[in-house]
């Protein structure tokens, strides 16, 4: 008899569990409680045994721990082999991954091996009366929402970070922690070291932090860059700053510069001239920070912060460090 168990692949880095795992556990717990089944976690890495208890506290009934030096650095083949063996043994109905670099490299390999259906970047999972999961995922670069279903068992999904809610943490919750034998798979990829983060072009960046005339001098771009780094984004500038030679034209955001549509745009001391607005108004989320609340950019912003950029930006950098 096919169970309705949920298996969650838990991503971790240096023993620290990626918080998306707790969101997947939140949904897993909800599904398992409705269907009377179990929520299991697969935790792979090296020196990660202690993290298993945290997963139980967030709702896992069972945590399968694969702890071995050979798993210290993520390798999609090694993780796939171990995960597939587990899935074939416990035969869950659903397998959830985070839609992260790791999840996106790993899940299709698992799906292809199992010849199972995989849907990516899900933002919602709704249990149907027939026990299947209706999955919602953006398509066409977010212009449409597709509602998809899967008939294979298991059904695999990768889920967007922050799309689901983590449940409450309860350290007195009970769960099983099982150590698994690790299949050692030699990685074909030799890691040479940390790579220099290649700066994304402003057209392709997910996050753009754009400075405007509120910036008092060219040197202050260092502060803007620190905020951009903290947000995982790139630095942009309005036309006057480029014309004054404070930064190169590659960074110019606007109709005469580059039109940008990042997931997050932060205007730092930007008033919002018409040609600038035309260059960024399709951004996913618009944040404006300015001491003058009457600026045009505030009219199209999701979040307008009225304040001194030289106070707000350093505060944000500090908060983001945590």
């Amino acid at each position: 008899m096919q169970n309705k168990d949920v298996l969650i692949y838990v991503e971790q880095e240096g023993g620290r569990v990626h918080p998306i795992a707790f969101e997947l556990l939140g949904k897993g717990r909800e599904l398992a409680d409705k269907t009377g089944s179990r929520v299991c976690c697969a935790l792979l890495g090296s020196g990660i045994y202690d993290a298993a208890k945290e997963l139980v506290a967030y709702g896992a009934d069972v945590v399968y721990v694969f702890d071995d030096a050979s798993l210290a650095t993520f390798d999609s083949l090694a993780h796939k082999q171990n995960l597939v063996t587990l899935i074939n043994e416990i035969k869950p109905a659903f397998v959830l991954f985070g839609a992260t670099f790791t999840g996106k490299a790993l899940s299709p390999r698992v799906a292809a091996t199992l010849e199972a259906g995989l849907n990516s970047n899900c933002t919602a999972l709704e249990l149907q009366s027939d026990g299947s999961l209706l999955q919602a995922r953006p398509a066409f670069t977010g212009n449409f929402l597709a509602h998809v279903k899967t008939k294979s068992v298991p059904a695999l999904m990768t889920v967007r970070y922050r799309a689901l809610e983590a449940g409450a943490r309860n350290d007195s919750r009970k769960g099983e922690i099982i150590k698994r034998d690790v299949q050692k798979v030699a990685s074909a990829i030799k890691v040479l070291g940390k790579g220099a983060a290649k700066e994304a072009s402003i057209a392709a960046a997910d996050v753009v932090v754009c400075a405007g005339r509120g910036l008092k001098k060219a040197d202050d771009f260092a502060m803007v860059k620190r905020l951009a780094d903290a947000l995982g984004g790139v630095v942009g500038a309005t036309r006057p700053l480029v014309d004054d030679g404070w930064i190169s034209k590659d960074h110019q955001v606007g109709f005469s510069g580059t039109i940008v549509k990042p997931k997050l745009y932060v205007g730092v001391g930007v008033s919002g001239s018409p040609q600038h607005l035309a260059g960024m108004r399709e951004s996913g989320t618009i944040v404006a920070i300015n001491s003058d609340p009457s600026v045009a950019l505030f009219r199209i912003a999701d979040y307008s912060v009225v304040g001194d950029i030289y106070e707000i930006v350093p505060q944000m950098i500090e908060l983001l460090k945590k």
């Binding site: 390999r109 799906a111 995989l118 929402l145």
Partner: protein
């Protein structure tokens, strides 16, 4: 050296509409183009061919109109363009698509490198590259943002991972999925573009993949399907104004809740 590039034809994302009340794209609503991420893969192949000498085969699965994508690649020095087109391939989800592409690649014989884009701008799944690598049993290098060095038997590259950018090295055969940062695709010359218009594009049907299991092609081989498509409501700006002492705090919390901060 033999390089295979996987490319897909996609509609112009900004303009495309769906046929009223259905899950199918209204092909008249927007022009079709080569998936922008695949254009980066084509450029990477072009560079490697110039530096190392290689034959480049471009492969695409789609309707007859997808021939245009292969011509784009031929205009950019691809030696051979093959379109997998057959009603039997239609309705394929990523599992069936990757299965079909892998079957075609096996038929192509020996290769050193497969290049494809990180994802398509219509499907947005990012699954094809890793799934094809799995089917073929070759090394997967996903999210490559830079090919630092390519020789006759290996690649040194920068990959993007959850742990940041890493410098890595891997031997052929291997499959690379490239990010938008991989390179800046060049403009073809008019001569190359006109030559590509007249070039031969091979068309393969299900019958040409006789070694494969036909029940794994198309809709028949697809365990996932789209029930319905909805248009998200027109985005209204929140217009939240934050002032005073805790405004930086409130802003960071709001961005975190919206999933906009680095994980």
């Amino acid at each position: 050296m033999h390089i295979i590039v996987l490319a897909k034809q996609v509609p112009d994302i900004e303009k495309v509409k769906f046929l009223a009340g259905s899950n199918r794209v209204d092909r008249k609503s927007a022009d079709a183009e080569i998936n922008p991420f695949d254009l980066n893969a084509v450029e990477a192949a072009q560079q490697m061919k110039a530096n190392l000498g290689a034959t480049v085969t471009v492969l695409s699965m789609g309707p007859a109109s997808a021939e245009a994508v292969l011509r784009e690649a031929i205009a950019r020095d691809a030696d051979r363009g093959i379109l997998l087109t057959d009603d039997a391939f239609a309705g394929a989800d990523t599992l069936a698509t990757a299965y079909t592409l892998a079957a075609a690649i096996r038929k192509l014989g020996a290769f050193d490198l497969i290049l494809c884009g990180e994802k398509t701008v219509d499907g947005d799944t990012g699954q094809i590259g890793p799934a094809v690598a799995e089917r073929l049993g070759i090394t997967l290098l996903p999210f490559v943002s830079q090919i630092t060095e390519a020789t006759a038997d290996k690649i040194v590259a920068v990959i993007e991972t959850s742990a940041g950018s890493l410098n890595v090295e891997a031997a052929f055969p291997l499959l690379i999925t490239g990010t938008k940062e991989l390179n800046t695709p060049r403009l073809p010359t008019l001569k190359d573009k006109l030559r590509a218009r007249k070039a031969e594009v091979e068309k393969w049907t299900a019958a040409d993949l006789s070694d494969a299991d036909a029940s794994k092609f198309g809709a028949a081989g697809s365990p996932t399907w789209v029930e319905s498509i909805t248009v998200p409501p027109e985005k209204k700006r929140k217009g939240e104004v934050l002032k005073g002492e805790g405004s930086a705090n409130q802003l960071v919390a709001a961005l975190d809740k919206a999933g906009l901060l680095k994980g």
